[in-house]
Every structure is written in structure tokens, then in C-alpha cells.
Symmetry: C2
Subunit: 434 residues, 2 copies
């Protein structure tokens, strides 16, 4: 075998966190001991575990593993080579255990997107100083090995754009709204009762969780320091069933879509509701499935689709990292030395795109002309317009614009009230071109 | 940086073959020297090249590279660390150069699916004996990094099934037949004139090229010795525009689909036309794009989509391998030691599936009853049946069966002629469930 590093010594894991993901990892290591050893050229074992509550029934035989009540103590054990951090949270125990592991000469495999989004650069520098590895495939898009594809498989490409639907709960809510014709609040409540939402639901529906993932992808794609604070975040709470239906009529779906792109002005990162063509792979994505779209200058467009969460898929991603370490495959945290990662200039949305506009137009002579004039003066030209029948004193008007800038749209939105023919607040949603 | 192997010494490539792919690699190395060096932690350079015709204009500046007219001589040069074999062909120069490179202590990156399908096991053993690496991401599904995803990203999974549409020309022909309503022969001729077909078109339309790729994926997925001879091959030459239309009416598309699956009877590998649901990712694939579906016991289903051929995508795959070697990431050829790969028992199609049947039924009383009786006696039960109107003495009948075995279908097909109510040859196509 040509791999230079692995010995036949076992790789010994210490697992911090015995929730869904941790138990999923335990099950794979137990079920597939022979297969993992054949593939890695050495055994992969669990030696120690740690969780908050030792007495909880966990549907797995943990009796052969040493128990630590303190994850930091687990991380520093002599019989642990790799800390598998699957506790979550970006401060406190997860961060402490990760740092302790690196300092004690161990590698770290983590599923913790928040930790990396907030402390990725510092942790990458620490790992590099100590000559240790941090791996985090499970932090982004669940079972989809997107970190590996981007960092390694596409390493010959200058990346142009990275996109993704990476929060299954949001996609579930939007799909359910569409299919059942239910308003956001009702479906949100359903999702809460089904246990689909984080304790702080804003992590999901506010786009924060997906934003963490986008910031990590952007760092790798563009060789920049991870910068979650510069992700433009807009959740799905303001998406109405009306817009879902209207967008559908026009041939689009509404998705909480992350887009990262390097432009002449700097790095754009946004996690916002967007329209995508119903016939596109992103448009056809329903329920909790995730999808990532990677665009490189040589490869063109690569689309990856798979389960974004759940015991098996997330544990599969953790084990991908574990197996790399067992096989001696080691890389800098974000694919290149931490010191070579640039601090990107954050840029607001400058890449032109078509926009979807919905406004409620008063039934007055010349009303539409006034709107058209404002749009024209703002530099927004109309590609398609649809006015709906009405029995009321006003009617919904849908507009798909030609490609224009967010600035032009904002200018138009600011100027519309003065016409006194637009009722309520107009809705404007970017149409991301695929 | 934590990678243990790379030095700051350049990784020096010798490129054998200056067709589309070779020139694509040259362009990436020239265009992205800084980016590649930053990511690999060391420069990536081309030192020598080789091709049949030195004088041909190749749209790239090759003046800084040493020229070898013999690829074997190129492979053995002292200033070459990695042979990039992009000539093609499974005997002769490609094989000789690959073996010479390994024996001279060089690693090999190849795009040559035929070479690996025919000599994969022997080459893997040779590489292992000599402690060298053979990498072949570009051999399967063009720009899609499926070898990496399967070998590394999903290394924690026992794979259940691997599927793929991996010959863009066949998918182009089938899509074009459907969209233009043209018969196979006409579209085949179009494709030939557009230069989409290999010199021996049977490599494409006979499923051989795609079968090579499937055999490689199966070896990695199931830890078996690559065994192209045991791939059941059926090309697209017998697909009629009629079946494409009828399948469409029933909600299916016809694809040349590769499926590899380990069953109780052994390893099934087939590259045959199949029906897939029109609404599935595979069903929505049009034109030359490739798609691979990987199913693992932990991860569930992962779908990968991208360009299956072309300068940029294929060169991107080659460079992914080159960058792995530059970064010191090394693995056994098929992901585990060559000696541990089992010789799989080849199995014919035993996994039950629904089937699509089309037959031309004589307009006689009791004709349908006779067919239904034969099907029932063969153990084939009918899920949906559609009889079309007709002005003739016979009418087309379409049947979608419940899940059944290929044996049962063959039994029914053999028994139908004796009824004397079926005209011509009935068509039976497997419906692969996704």
C-alpha cells in the first residue's frame, strides 16, 4: 500500500457528545470494524466517551468505553488519538475540548458549524502551530461530502460561485407551505411540534445555521478567513404563501439559498430567500434534503444532493473524516495554510440578477404607468408582468425584471410610495440564476 | 500546516498525450500557478510532454517543456515525479508508459477508464509492490469527483448500490430522440457528424465506455477486483422512439443506466437501458451531463451531477488527483490494499424490480386475457395497463408490472408467442427504483 503514514496501530477515538450524531458514530464503528480496518489499513476503535448524562438509555452498548464526565479530560486522555466533538455550541465545552485536544497533540473531528464559523481562523492557526488537523465534513450539509469535494476534488479550480440549500428545516417549511397551502406561522408551529426546530428556532428560520455553513464553504472556496459576521442574513419568516404561489405561477420556487461569490468589490456572502427556476435541481429539492452547487472555472457546475441531517448521514460525514485521519490523509484546516488565508473585503450584493416584485396596485387610471415610470427611472426594466383579476379596489401585480442591481431595486422600492398607487409594502426577491 | 509529507520542492509533471484533456491540464497549471502552490504548499510544474505529432498547433505555449516522442521515455525521466497519462487505449503506449512510470518510482494520474477496467487489479498490485500511487478521478464521470467521494468521503459506509448515467453521448442521443421525435438511426447519424461519437461508436452506444466506468466504481464500492468482463452490457441501439414516448406517457424516462449491487448471489453489474421516474434526479438529466447515485447504509442516497466530458471538467479531475499527490495524500489504488480485494462472484440480475412491457396485441376476442394468463403463470403481476386505440388489426398495449424478477419476465416473454395474439417481438425494460 502506498500511503506513507498509517501504521497498523489502531486509531483511537474519544467521542464527546452522545446525542444522535455521537451514537451514530458508535454504531458505525461497532457494526463495521472489519470493513473500516480493511479500508484504513488499521483498526479504528473507540476508547473513551463523554456526555452530560451517563445514565440516559442510548440504544448502544457503551460498556467497553472509558467514561469521562468532563469533555476536556476526555480530549486529553493518553489513549485518545482523535477527539470527535459532536456536542455543539460555539463557546464553552465544545471550544474548550477542541483546544485542549489540539494542545494535547490530538487531531479533532467536529460536526460543529457554529464553532468553526465563529472561531475557524483562530482554531486553524492553533492547529497549524501544533501540527494537528481539524476536520469538519459533518458541519456542512450533513452526509454530503462537500468539504472534501471543494477542498480536494476541485482543488484545480478557481471557484466562481458556491451555493446551497443547507437548512433542511427551512426547506421543509417552505415545501410544506406550498404543498398544503398553509401560512408560515401554522407550518412553523407544526415544525416545532415535530421537533424539527432548534431550541432557538431563529438558528433555523433566521438563516443563522445555514449562514454558518456558507461562511465555512466561502473560506475554502476563496482562500479567505472565515467571516460569518459578513454573511447577509435574511430568514424565511417573511415569506408568504401568496409569494410561494405567485412564484410558482411564474415558474419559480422560493428557497432559503446561500450564495458566496468573489467579485471585484469583495466577497459577497448572503443567506436569503431567493427564487430559483422550478425545473432546476435546486427548484426540485423538496423537504429536508440538502443541495450544494459548486461552480469552478474548469469544472463548470457540480451539484451535490443528499440528506442534510440525521443520525446516519451526519455520522457518515464524521466517519469520512475519521477514515482520512486513519489513512494518514492530512490537510490544513481550510485547505491551505492558515496564514495564507486572506481577510476578504465584505461586499454587499452587487452581482446583477433578475428580481421578482409583487405589489398591490390601486385600481386607478394610470396606476400601472406610474409604477413603470418609477422602475424605468431607477434603471429597472420589466421582463414579464402579470396583473391579476380583482373584485377589490386594488389588484396584485407581479413583475419579473431583467437583470438589475440590488441598488436599483432598492431605489425603486423607496420611490414607489410617492406614487400613491401602491398599497402596503411591495415584495422584492432576488432570482438567482443557475 | 499539518500535512506530513509535502516539501517545498515542486511536484513535476510529465504529460503523455496532448489532446483535449492534456491541453486542459497545461492551461490550468499555467493559469493558476500561484493558486495551486498556495493550496498544495509547493509549486506544481510541468517539466516534459509527449504526443504523437509535435508539429500540431495546440493553442497553448509548450515551449518551456522538454519533448519526448516516446511516452515510455517521458515516464522514466529523472525530472518527472508524476506521469499524467491522458492518451487513452487499454493496450500499447498507455499501458507501457504507466508500468514504466511505476517501475521508475513515479506516481501515475490517468484518465484511462479502459486501462483500469481491463488491467486495474494487475496495475494496483504493481503500484503496491513498488509503493507508488495510481489515481484516476478523470476516468469516471468527467468533472464529478466521484472516485474521491466514494473512496474517501463515504468510507464509513457499506455501499448498497451504485448507479450512474455516465456516457454523455448516449444521454444526448436519448434526449434528442425524445425532444425532436426522431428515430435512433437519424440521431445516431447526427451525433456522428457532430463528432460526439468515438471512432468505434460501439464504445458509446454499446455501453462499453460506461461499463468500464461502472466496473471501476463497483470495485471501490464493494472491495472487489475490478471485473469489466462481468458487466452485463446492453446498448441503446434497440431503443425506439415509440418506447421513449410510451414511457413518457407513463411518467418515465429511458436512460442508459449503470447499476452495481452486491446481493446474496454475488456482484451484479449491469449497464443497460432502464426506465426511471421522470421526476427523479436521474429522470431530469438531459443532454451530455452525467449523474452518479451512491447509496450507503449510513448516508442514504447521495446524488452527484456534473459535466461528464470536455476539456475543463476532465482536466479539473486530473488536477484534483495531481493536487492530492502534491499535498501528500496517498491511498491504495482502489481504496484498500490490492491483496485484500475479493474476487466477486458475478451474478445475473436477481434484484426484483418493476418492468415496463410493450407488446402489439392482435384485435381478437380474449387476446388480453391470454396475455394476462401467461403473465400470471410466470409470476408477473400487473400494476398498470394501458391499451391504445387503433385503426389496425392490432393495438399497442403497455404494462407496468409489480416488482418481479428478470427470470419471471423472461419466462413470460418466452411463453407469449404460443398465444398467437402477440405480434412481433415484445419489449421489456427494467424500471430501476430510486
Amino acid at each position: 500500500m502506498s500511503a506513507p503514514v498509517p501504521s497498523d496501530k489502531p486509531l483511537r477515538l474519544g467521542i464527546a457528545g452522545l446525542g444522535t450524531v455521537g451514537i451514530g458514530v458508535v454504531k458505525i464503528v461497532q457494526r463495521h470494524a472489519d470493513m473500516l480496518a480493511a479500508r484504513a489499513g488499521r483498526p479504528v476503535q473507540i476508547t473513551a466517551i463523554s456526555a452530560r448524562d451517563r445514565t440516559k438509555n442510548r440504544d448502544a452498548d457503551l460498556s467497553n468505553y472509558a467514561w469521562e464526565s468532563d469533555p476536556v479530560a476526555l480530549a486529553m486522555r493518553d489513549d485518545v488519538d482523535v477527539l470527535v466533538e459532536v456536542m455543539g455550541g460555539h463557546e464553552g465545552a465544545a471550544k474548550d475540548a477542541t483546544e485542549a485536544a489540539l494542545r494535547a497533540g490530538k487531531d479533532v473531528v467536529t460536526a460543529n458549524k457554529a464553532l468553526l464559523a465563529h472561531h475557524g481562523q483562530a482554531l486553524a492557526e492553533l492547529a497549524e502551530d501544533l501540527n494537528r488537523a481539524i476536520r469538519f465534513e459533518a458541519a456542512v450539509a450533513g452526509g454530503i461530502p462537500v468539504i472534501k469535494v471543494l477542498t480536494e476534488g476541485l482543488a484545480g479550480n478557481a471557484m466562481r460561485r458556491v451555493m446551497g440549500v443547507m437548512n433542511g428545516t427551512c426547506n421543509y417549511i417552505l415545501t410544506r407551505m406550498e404543498e398544503a397551502g398553509l401560512p408560515y406561522d401554522t407550518v412553523f408551529e407544526e415544525a416545532r411540534q415535530l421537533g424539527y426546530l432548534e431550541a432557538d428556532p431563529n438558528l433555523d428560520v433566521g438563516g443563522i445555521d445555514a449562514g454558518h455553513k456558507l461562511a465555512i464553504l466561502a473560506a475554502i472556496a476563496f482562500g479567505t478567513q472565515v467571516s460569518f459576521d459578513n454573511v447577509v442574513l435574511e430568514g424565511i419568516g417573511r415569506i408568504s404563501i401568496d409569494d410561494i404561489r405567485r412564484a410558482g405561477d411564474l415558474g419559480y420556487k422560493i428557497k432559503l439559498l446561500g450564495v458566496a461569490q468573489m467579485t471585484g468589490r469583495g466577497l459577497e456572502q448572503r443567506m436569503t430567500p431567493c427564487l430559483v427556476p422550478s425545473s432546476s435541481p435546486l427548484g426540485q429539492l423538496t423537504g429536508g434534503t440538502n443541495m450544494v452547487v459548486l461552480e469552478g472555472d474548469a469544472v463548470g457546475q457540480i451539484v451535490l444532493r443528499g440528506a442534510g441531517a440525521g443520525e446516519g448521514p451526519t455520522a457518515s460525514a464524521v466517519m469520512g473524516d475519521v477514515m482520512d485521519l486513519a489513512r494518514g490523509l492530512r490537510l490544513p484546516t481550510f485547505g491551505q495554510p492558515a496564514g495564507s488565508l486572506m481577510q476578504a473585503t465584505p461586499a454587499v450584493t452587487s452581482v446583477p440578477a433578475p428580481y421578482y416584485l409583487r405589489l398591490q396596485l390601486a385600481d386607478k387610471p394610470g396606476a400601472l404607468a406610474k409604477v413603470a415610470t418609477i422602475l424605468g427611472e431607477s434603471g429597472v426594466s420589466i421582463s414579464r408582468l402579470r396583473q391579476y383579476g380583482h373584485a377589490d379596489t386594488s389588484a396584485p401585480v407581479l413583475i419579473v425584471t431583467h437583470k438589475t442591481t440590488r441598488d436599483a431595486i432598492d431605489h425603486a422600492l423607496a420611490a414607489l410610495p410617492a406614487t400613491r398607487v401602491v398599497e402596503g409594502e411591495p415584495v422584492a426577491i432576488r432570482i438567482e440564476e443557475l
